[in-house]
């Protein structure tokens, strides 16, 4: 089998139209590189090899998923797990679609031929991923029809706002190198091990072998994507005129992915997993901080790249991240499409053992819930203009809400990181209208209607089967 790409040699410089018309400079504006044709080739895969490898992977994944359905695997999965997956999968699916479309643009318009060739395969990989995630939702839907309108949640629900804000923005980037830093580095190098390797372990422990297999097979494609990211970063850093721009993008997108990806993901091992693996804080330490920061970023220090500006802010949030987000969503359970539950004794023990500040920061909240206070809120929270998350971090009682004034309007942010990004690019982000503004003044039934929540969706999960 021929394994080397032959199509790479088929890029040509135009004879009948301007080079700038065929490859508009917008796609790389501000980035310096001497000879795009000599761009370092991240990998050299042929169609033949791609099809062969990927067909084999399909054979490995689908039988596991089919068996899970056929043999009623859902009966061995706690009810709460499904409610977690209702949040996770529409989110992931949105990210993959946006990534695929972003790299369609890279494949067409990147200034370097080798990068265009690599993006071809990434773009179709993302199709595989978004379809794999839908396969999962199809499977879940048989056991729990709360997945049946996932596209509507993505379009209308405030909890999916971060997915739209961050992944669509990644797709909307003018500069393909920003998309690459945002996606290939800050999602795929930094966070996908957390999602697609860490979380499957949790899933398998909780009986969801189909999801575990789906995540792992999705991750198997990420090696290619990481290679694109790493080679792009290394290559561009050789020209020190690029350092400032690349540093900004690293700072920006690390923070945004810490919000969009790492926030919701934390709910899974800490809360929606009835059987516990390890505390989320430890997973983050292992897969993100140790792997990425100590690994890659320190490597790139010789080129002048510093670790992400808001890394210490991210670390500082970790003892509370999942707990703050879970508590907040709990208060909005009546306007969610998934159910929320009260953590039981086993959960509380796990939290107090794994998180030394849990009792001090969150204990009182849950004591009051157990004493009968539902903590329900009838209005949506203030949502961060930048990331779309509620402005509640690190803990609601001491939320680090930030403000910027721009064109005589006040904009609010959940963190220093989100404010920093907005202040750099206010024209890009000022026109978003966060959902609590459009739904303000409506009562819970009206909010539910506007977000397309059919009766029976959301609320409190009271029966969680043992496994």
């Amino acid at each position: 089998m021929k394994t080397k790409s032959r199509a790479k040699q088929l890029y040509w410089k135009p004879s009948y139209v301007d080079l700038d018309a065929m490859y508009p400079p917008l796609a790389s504006a501000g980035i310096h590189f001497d000879d795009w044709d000599a761009w370092d080739d991240p990998f050299n895969i042929s169609y033949r090899q791609y099809i062969d490898v990927q067909a084999k992977k399909e054979l490995g994944f689908h039988p596991v998923r089919d068996a899970f359905e056929r043999y009623n695997g859902d009966q061995h999965v706690p009810a709460r797990w499904y409610d977690g997956m209702k949040l996770a999968f529409p989110f992931l699916q949105t990210a993959e679609v946006a990534a695929g479309r972003a790299h369609a643009r890279t494949a067409r318009y990147a200034p370097a031929p080798a990068l265009r060739a690599a993006a071809f395969y990434q773009s179709i990989d993302e199709m595989r991923h978004f379809q794999n995630h839908i396969y999962e939702m199809r499977t879940y839907n048989q056991a729990d029809s709360g997945f049946d309108n996932w596209a509507s949640w993505r379009d209308n629900h405030f909890s999916m706002g971060p997915a739209r804000y961050i992944y669509e923005d990644l797709m909307n980037c003018d500069n393909i190198f920003e998309s690459i830093i945002a996606l290939n580095i800050c999602v795929e190098v930094v966070f996908t091990n957390l999602i697609f390797v860490g979380i499957p372990s949790v899933g398998a422990l909780n009986g969801d072998t189909a999801m575990a297999q789906e995540m792992l097979t999705t991750q198997s494609d990420e090696t290619r994507h990481m290679a694109i990211g790493q080679s792009t970063l290394r290559t561009l850093l050789r020209d020190d005129r690029n350092v400032e721009q690349l540093q900004y993008w690293l700072d920006k997108w690390f923070w945004l992915q810490h919000r969009a990806v790492a926030g919701p993901v934390g709910l899974i091992p800490d809360y929606f997993a009835k059987r516990k693996y390890i505390p989320y804080q430890q997973m983050y330490q292992r897969y993100v901080i140790d792997n990425f920061i100590a690994g890659m970023v320190d490597d790139l220090a010789e080129f002048g790249l510093k670790q992400p500006r808001f890394l210490e802010d991210a670390k500082a949030e970790l003892p509370d991240y999942s707990h703050t987000l879970y508590r907040t969503l709990f208060q909005y359970k009546n306007v969610l499409f998934n159910k929320m539950f009260v953590p039981d004794e086993h959960d509380m023990e796990f939290f107090t053992e794994g998180y030394p500040t849990f009792e001090a920061n969150h204990g009182k909240f849950w004591d009051e819930v157990r004493a009968g206070d539902p903590k329900d809120l009838s209005q949506l929270p203030m949502l961060c203009q930048m990331c779309g998350m509620p402005c509640v971090f690190p803990v609601p009682e001491r939320a680090n809400v930030q403000c910027s004034m721009y064109e005589n309007n006040a904009y609010w942010f959940c963190s220093n990181g989100c404010k920093y990004i907005f202040d750099h690019e206010p024209y890009r982000y000022a026109h978003r209208v966060t959902m609590e503004r459009t739904l303000n003044g409506l009562d819970v039934p009206e909010i539910r209607e506007k977000m397309g929540l059919a009766p029976g969706l959301g609320g409190l999960l009271t029966a969680d089967k043992d496994i």
Binding site: R48, M171, N172
Partner: protein, 326 residues
């Protein structure tokens, strides 16, 4: 018990296919979340206007059935190429055929690649999720066509110089109208126009032309490899024809769209026909070339009529075929 499906596919007599469940609901609408020049998906990105979510690919392709299906056919073509090489069928080919073929196959690699590149633009900006899925897989088909063409070129021409492919694409006179056509489409922003210019018009002529040339020419010359390549690429192209014609027929049900599509056909078809004719003139290949061009015109015309394009005199003249095709 029937499978539960998603809300937007429910309530129909026939349950949705796996294709539909995997390809619909995937693209969102609404105000863009950020203001960049590139933007999100814009209604004004094409002159066409239709229910973007209504389109379905008649071939029903999605990632899984695509890779599994293509893996099977790639194994077939592997065997053909291996035999051609291992049993040295190549040195037995007629030298004139081999020389012509080398130029044609080599330069057509660029055409296939260029069509793939044009489709990347469509994929990024199309307003229809199901068009995006069909286009993504077409991009891969064209990648296959390009790579298999280059592979065959290398086998036919083992002493090729590193830049010989480029020089052929850039310098051979009869290829330039095709080369120019593709470049001019590559800089068009309207993705609907690109679908018409590439999939309906250029591919509408080029795919049947190459099919006839490769298969009939290969058969006449005892060159089973070229015939096999032609068969495989033609089979892949049937999916492209299916989705394109279904999409444009859906659009053309509306008069305003039909006018827009007809205007695009009027602009591009004479250029595409002239590009094919230039190749035929230089490579008549004992009459196979002109016959292939005639078959291509007949098939293209039939497609245009099916999609409800108004054939202007200009277009009708470009598609005119002399004599019968028997």
């Amino acid at each position: 018990m029937a499978r539960k499906t998603f809300v937007w596919l429910s309530g129909r007599k026939r349950p949705p296919s796996e294709y539909e469940e995997l390809s619909t609901g995937i693209q969102w609408s609404g105000l863009p979340v950020s203001e960049t020049i590139t933007g999100q998906w814009r209604e004004d990105s094409t002159l066409l206007s239709t229910d973007w979510n209504a389109f379905r690919d008649p071939a029903g392709m999605y990632y899984r059935n695509y890779v599994v299906g293509q893996d099977a056919v790639e194994k077939q073509l592997d065997a053909v190429y291996a035999l051609a090489s291992d049993a040295d069928f190549i040195s037995g080919l007629d030298p004139t055929w081999r020389e012509s073929l080398t130029v044609l196959i080599g330069t057509m690699s660029f055409a296939q690649w260029g069509m793939s590149m044009a489709m990347q633009h469509v994929m990024r900006f199309t307003l229809s999720p199901t068009v995006a899925c069909a286009v993504q897989l077409q991009i891969m088909d064209k990648l296959r066509a390009a790579e298999r063409s280059v592979e065959w070129y290398e086998l036919l021409n083992p002493d090729y110089q590193p830049d010989s492919l480029f020089r052929a694409w850039d310098e051979i006179e009869c290829i330039q109208p095709l080369h120019r056509y593709i470049e001019e489409v590559l800089v068009e922003a309207d993705w609907g126009e690109v679908i018409v210019a590439i999939n309906l018009v250029l591919a509408g002529l080029l795919e049947p032309f190459l099919r006839e040339l490769y298969i009939k020419g290969g058969r006449a010359q005892g060159d089973f490899t070229t015939a096999a390549l032609g068969t495989h690429l033609a089979k892949d192209a049937t999916r492209q024809v299916a989705w394109t014609d279904a999409f444009l027929a859906q659009c053309a049900a509306d008069d305003a769209n039909a006018k827009v599509i007809s205007a695009w056909v009027d602009r591009y078809l004479p250029l595409a026909a002239a590009a094919i004719d230039a190749v035929v003139e230089a490579y008549p290949l004992d009459g196979i070339g002109p016959r292939a061009a005639a078959v291509a015109r007949t098939e293209c015309r039939a497609r245009l009529e099916k999609v409800n394009v108004t054939l202007t005199d200009h277009v009708a003249a470009a598609l005119a075929v002399e004599g019968d095709l028997s």
